[in-house]
C-alpha cells in the first residue's frame, strides 16, 4: 500500500466519521442533561434516513437541488419532533426511575420504532437519489473521491462549530450546562426544567435525524441501521467522554480512521505470519474503546460523573436489603423444584413442554448469573452473552475437534467461561456505571468477532453443528432432568454465596466502596472474583445450551442475547433474588409462544416491556412484594 493510498483511506474515514459524529453528539448531549442513556437514539437516525428517502424522492429527487436539501433538513426536523414527542410522552415519566430501567424503556422504544418502520416502509432496502451537484467525483491524491463524501468531511466540523457557539455563547447553552450540574437550583431560579429537557431532547434528535438524512445519498435505508449506529455511537460517546461534544468529534474521527486504515493496510506479512488487518474492522472500534477505557476510565474528554442535584434524590426510596429465604419461601422453592421434576410425566399430553422447560431453565441460569453481579454486585454487564458463548463454544469445539465425551465437554464449558471472565473482569471492575456496561459490551463484541471470523476453527457464521448429548441423555426427558439438576444447583449456589461473608463483602462494596475498603475489604478483588464466578456459572448455561440445541452459531454471543439477559433480570426485578428466575421464565415463555405468532413480535415485546416498566418499576416480583406488604399492613 502506498502512502497516497493510505492518505486516501484516511480521507474516506473522515467522511464516515461525519454521520457518526452527529449521532454521537446528540446522544452525548441528551445524556449530559437528562442522564438518560437513550438506546432509541439510533432509531431516530434510521428514521432520518427513511424520511429523507421519502421526502427527497417526493420533492423531485436527484434533479432538484432545492427539493433535495429541503427534504434532508425537513427529515432532520421531523426526527426532532418525534424525539420531543418521545420525551414528553415516555421519558418524562421515567426520569426518576433507576438508570437500568431507563435503558430498558428506551430499548423497548427501539424495538417498537423498528417494527413501525417495517410496517410503514416495508422490509426492502430503500435507495435514495444522489445529491444534485454532488453526484460526481473529485480527484484527490490521484484517486476519485465522491464529491458527496468531500461535502460530508466539511459539514461535520461546521456543525461542531455551530454547536460550540450555541453552547458557549447563548443563554440556552448556559442553561443546558447549568442543568447538567444542578437542575433543582435552576428550577428555583424560574427556569422550566421540563421545557429545557424537551428542547435538549429535540436538539439531540435533530442531530441524529440529520446524521441519518445525510446518509440518504450514500447508503440505502435499511432496518438494521438503528442497532448498528447506536452501537457505534455508544462507542464514540464513551471513548470521547459522556457529555463532551468535542470528545464525540475526536472519538468519531479516531474510530473512523482506525477502521479506514485497517482496510487500507490490508494483509501484511509480519514475522512470517500474514495478518489481515481488514478483518479487524469488525472489532477495531471495540478494541479502541477497551484501550481508552482502561487508560482513561471516563473517556478522552470526560470527567468523573457527579450526581446531578435535584435528580430525584429526595424521592429515591431505600431499597430493602435482600434476606435469606423465609421457611415459607424455601418450601415454595422446593415445591416448584418438585413440580418441575414431575414435568416429564406430562410429556405425553404436552410434547413441547420439555423443550420449553429446557429453554426456560437455561434462561433462568443465564439470568441468575447476570443478576448476581448486576443486583448485589452493582455491576450491570452489557456483554454477559460473552460467557454464555464461551461456555457453549468451549463445549462444542471440544466435541468437534477432540471428539470429547459429553461429560468432559460440559465440564470444560465453565472453565472456558471462567478464563474469559477472569481476564475481562479484571479490567471491567475498575470502571462503574455506564462505562463498565460499555467495556463489558466491548469485550463481548471482541469475543463475537473472533468467533465470527476465525472460520477454520469456529466455523464462522455457520457455527458448530452436530453437538448431540450421549446416552442416556439423548432422550429429551433425561436431558431435561440433567438440566434441571444443574440449574437448581447453580441457582442455589449463587444464592448461598450471597449470604456468605463473600456476598456481604460484595454488597458492602456496591453500597459504599470507601467504607468497605476502610474496614479491610479489597472491593476490586471481591468484585473481580464475583464477576468471574458469574461468568463461570453462565458458562455452564452455555454448555447445556449447546447440547440442547445440537448446534451453535455466533448468535450465542450476540448483543441481542446480552440484552435479553438484561430484560429478564429487570423484568423480574433487580432488587430481589427470585426476580431474575421469574423474569427469565416469563421472558422465555413469551419468546417461545407469543412472539412467534406475529410478524411484529419486536414491537409486541417492546410494548410489553414498556407497560411493565411504567406499571411495575420494581419488576414483577418487586410489584408482588409491594402488594403483599401493603396487605399485611391493612
Amino acid at each position: 500500500m502506498t502512502f497516497e493510498g493510505l492518505a486516501f483511506q484516511a480521507l474516506d474515514g473522515l467522511a464516515s466519521a461525519s454521520s457518526l459524529f452527529f449521532v454521537a453528539a446528540g446522544l452525548s448531549l441528551i445524556f449530559g442533561v437528562t442522564r438518560i442513556v437513550n438506546l432509541a437514539h439510533g432509531s431516530l437516525y434510521m428514521l432520518g434516513t427513511y424520511i429523507a428517502v421519502t421526502l427527497v424522492t417526493a420533492m423531485g429527487g436527484a434533479g432538484d437541488a432545492f427539493g433535495f436539501w429541503s427534504g434532508v433538513l425537513a427529515a432532520a426536523l421531523i426526527a426532532g419532533v418525534i424525539g420531543a414527542a418521545i420525551e414528553v410522552v415516555l421519558l418524562r415519566r421515567i426520569y426518576v426511575a433507576p438508570e437500568l430501567f431507563q435503558l430498558l424503556a428506551t430499548f423497548a422504544l427501539m424495538l417498537i420504532v423498528n417494527d413501525a418502520t417495517l410496517w410503514l416502509w416495508g422490509p426492502e432496502d430503500l435507495l435514495g437519489p444522489r445529491a444534485p451537484g454532488l453526484s460526481g467525483a473529485i480527484e484527490i491524491l490521484g484517486r476519485e473521491m465522491p464529491s458527496y463524501d468531500a461535502f460530508l468531511i466539511v459539514v461535520a466540523p461546521a456543525v461542531l462549530g455551530l454547536l460550540y457557539v450555541v453552547f458557549a455563547r447563548t443563554r440556552f447553552g448556559a442553561l443546558v450546562r447549568a442543568a447538567t450540574q444542578d437542575r433543582e437550583m435552576l428550577g428555583a431560579l424560574g427556569v422550566n426544567q421540563a421545557l429545557l429537557f424537551t428542547a435538549v431532547f429535540a436538539l439531540g434528535s435533530v442531530l441524529a435525524g440529520l446524521g441519518g438524512a445525510l446518509q440518504v445519498a450514500r447508503e440505502p435505508a435499511n432496518l438494521g441501521m438503528d442497532l448498528s449506529v447506536i452501537t457505534d455511537a455508544f462507542v464514540v460517546v464513551v471513548v470521547g467522554g459522556m457529555g463532551s461534544i468535542v470528545g464525540s468529534y475526536v472519538a468519531a474521527l479516531l474510530i473512523a480512521e482506525v477502521k479506514a486504515l485497517c482496510i487500507g493496510i490490508g494483509v501484511v506479512g509480519f514475522a512470517g505470519f500474514a495478518v489481515n488487518f481488514s478483518k479487524l474492522t469488525l472489532v477495531a472500534e471495540f478494541l479502541v474503546m477497551a484501550i481508552v477505557l482502561i487508560a482513561r476510565p471516563h473517556g478522552l474528554f470526560g470527567r468523573a460523573q457527579v450526581a446531578v442535584r435535584g435528580a430525584a434524590e429526595a424521592e429515591a426510596e431505600m431499597e430493602a436489603p435482600i434476606r435469606p429465604a423465609s421457611r415459607a419461601l424455601a418450601l415454595f422453592g422446593l415445591a416448584v423444584f418438585g413440580a418441575l421434576l414431575l414435568l416429564p410425566f406430562s410429556a405425553r399430553a404436552f410434547p413441547y413442554a420439555l423443550v420449553l422447560g429446557v429453554d426456560v431453565l437455561i434462561a433462568v441460569l443465564f439470568a441468575a448469573s447476570l443478576h448476581f453481579i448486576m443486583g448485589p454486585g452493582g455491576m450491570a454487564s452489557f456483554g454477559h452473552a460473552a460467557y454464555f458463548g464461551l461456555g457453549a463454544y468451549g463445549a462444542a469445539l471440544l466435541v468437534k475437534w477432540f471428539a470429547a465425551p459429553m461429560g468432559l465437554a460440559l465440564a470444560a464449558a465453565p472453565v472456558a467461561a471462567a478464563l474469559g471472565a477472569l481476564l475481562f473482569g479484571w479490567f471491567s471492575v475498575r470502571l462503574s456505571g455506564v462505562y463498565l456496561a460499555m467495556l463489558t459490551l466491548a469485550f463481548a463484541q471482541i469475543v463475537w468477532s473472533i468467533v465470527f471470523q476465525w472460520q477454520e476453527v469456529t466455523g464462522g457464521s455457520n457455527g458448530v453443528l452436530g453437538i448431540w448429548p450421549s446416552a442416556p441423555f439423548d432422550r429429551l426427558a433425561a436431558y431435561y432432568l440433567l438440566t434441571l439438576l444443574v440449574v437448581a444447583v447453580g441457582v442455589w449456589l449463587l444464592r448461598r454465596i450471597l449470604f456468605a461473608p463473600f456476598g456481604y463483602a460484595m454488597r458492602a462494596g456496591r453500597d459504599s466502596p470507601l467504607r468497605a475498603e476502610a474496614i479491610g475489604i479489597d472491593v476490586k478483588r471481591v468484585h473481580w472474583l464475583a464477576f468471574a464466578l458469574a461468568g463461570t456459572v453462565c458458562g455452564v448455561a452455555g454448555g447445556i445450551f449447546a447440547f440442547a440445541k445440537g448446534s451453535i452459531s455466533p448468535e450465542t454471543i450476540s448483543i441481542g442475547r446480552s440484552i435479553d439477559g438484561l430484560v429478564m433480570v429487570l423484568l423480574g426485578g433487580v432488587g430481589t433474588l427470585s426476580g431474575p428466575l421469574v423474569g427469565a421464565s416469563v421472558f422465555a415463555v413469551l419468546q417461545d409462544f407469543v412472539m412467534q405468532e406475529t410478524e411484529y413480535w419486536h414491537a409486541l415485546l417492546g410494548g410489553i416491556i414498556l407497560v411493565l416498566v411504567l406499571a411495575f418499576p420494581s419488576g414483577l416480583v418487586g410489584a408482588f412484594l409491594r402488594l403483599t406488604r401493603r396487605r399485611r399492613f391493612l
Binding site: 447549568a178 450540574q181 428550577g187 431560579l189
Partner: protein
C-alpha cells in the same frame, strides 16, 4: 335593590404568609405546623440553632421538598401546589445556604441563568429590576470577576454571586438562607448593607440566621424555631432585650 352597605376595604395580604407548614425528608417529619408572615417591605429573621428547620422552611416555601403540607401564599396567592420554577416566576427569589453556584459557568453566565422578566408589586407599581451592570455596582467585587468560572471563586464571592443571581430574577420576596454564614467579616458587613438597600427598594425579605448580632442590624421582626416548630415571635427589639429567650433557643 339597594346598594350593599360599604364594607371596609380588606387589608392588603402580606408578601408571604405561611400557615401550618409540615414537611418531611423521606419518612422523617422536619417541620410541624410552622406559621409566620412577612409583610410588604419587611425584613423578618427566622432564627434557631443548627437543625431547627430554618433551611427546610425555606425549601418547603420554594416548593423544593416533594413531601410537604400546609398553606403558602405570596401576596394572597396560594403557591403550595406549584413547582419551584412557577413559584420563582411569581416573584419569589431563593438563595440557598450552600450557594449552589454553577461551577462550570462564568459569573456572567451564572447571572444570565437567573434572568427573568420585570414585574410589578401587588399595588401595580413597578418592582425594582436588575441588570448585570446594576448588580456589579451593588457588588463591585463581582465586576472584576465577570469571566471567572463559578467554581474558582472564594466562599464570600460565591455568596455575593448567589444573591446577585437571584436578584437577576427581579424578585418581590427574597428568601435568604444564612447569608452571613462562613464568610469574612467584611463580606458580612457588605451583606447587611445590601439587605438594607433591598429593603429600601421595597423588597420583602425572609432571612434565616443564627447570629443575633447580624439579624439585629437588618431585621424588623424575628421568629424562633426549635425542632421544626415556631417557639417565639416578636420584634427584633424584644428579642435583643430578652436574654432568656436567646439562651433557650439560640446560644449553644
Amino acid at each position: 335593590m339597594s346598594a350593599p352597605p360599604a364594607t371596609p376595604k380588606p387589608p392588603a395580604p402580606p408578601a408571604l404568609a405561611v400557615g401550618h407548614l409540615d414537611a418531611w425528608y423521606g419518612a422523617a417529619q422536619i417541620l410541624r405546623g410552622v406559621t409566620f408572615t412577612v409583610g410588604q417591605g419587611e425584613v423578618v429573621a427566622l432564627m434557631g440553632r443548627n437543625g431547627a428547620g430554618k433551611s427546610t422552611t425555606m425549601k418547603a416555601v420554594m416548593g423544593l421538598l416533594p413531601r410537604r403540607r400546609g398553606a403558602v401564599r405570596v401576596y394572597g396567592r396560594a403557591v403550595s401546589g406549584l413547582k419551584p420554577f412557577e413559584i420563582a416566576r411569581l416573584g419569589v427569589g431563593y438563595t440557598p445556604e450552600d450557594r449552589r453556584i454553577f461551577s462550570d459557568l462564568t459569573v456572567l453566565e451564572n447571572l444570565d441563568a437567573g434572568r427573568q422578566k420585570p414585574r410589578r408589586f401587588a399595588d401595580g407599581t413597578p418592582a425594582p429590576t436588575w441588570t448585570r451592570e446594576d448588580l456589579f455596582k451593588l457588588f463591585p467585587n463581582l465586576a472584576e470577576l465577570r469571566h471567572r468560572l463559578g467554581g474558582r471563586m472564594s466562599g464570600g464571592e460565591q455568596q455575593m454571586l448567589t444573591v446577585a443571581r437571584t436578584l437577576m430574577g427581579n424578585p418581590l420576596v427574597l428568601l435568604l438562607d444564612e447569608p452571613s454564614e462562613g464568610v469574612a467579616p467584611v463580606i458580612v458587613e457588605a451583606m447587611a448593607d445590601t439587605i438594607l438597600e433591598l429593603k429600601n427598594r421595597g423588597l420583602s425579605i425572609l432571612l434565616s440566621e443564627q447570629n443575633v448580632g447580624f439579624a439585629e442590624i437588618v431585621s424588623d421582626r424575628a421568629y424562633l424555631l426549635e425542632k421544626g416548630q415556631i417557639r417565639w415571635a416578636g420584634t427584633m427589639a424584644e428579642l435583643t432585650e430578652n436574654a432568656d429567650v436567646q439562651r433557650s433557643y439560640l446560644t449553644l
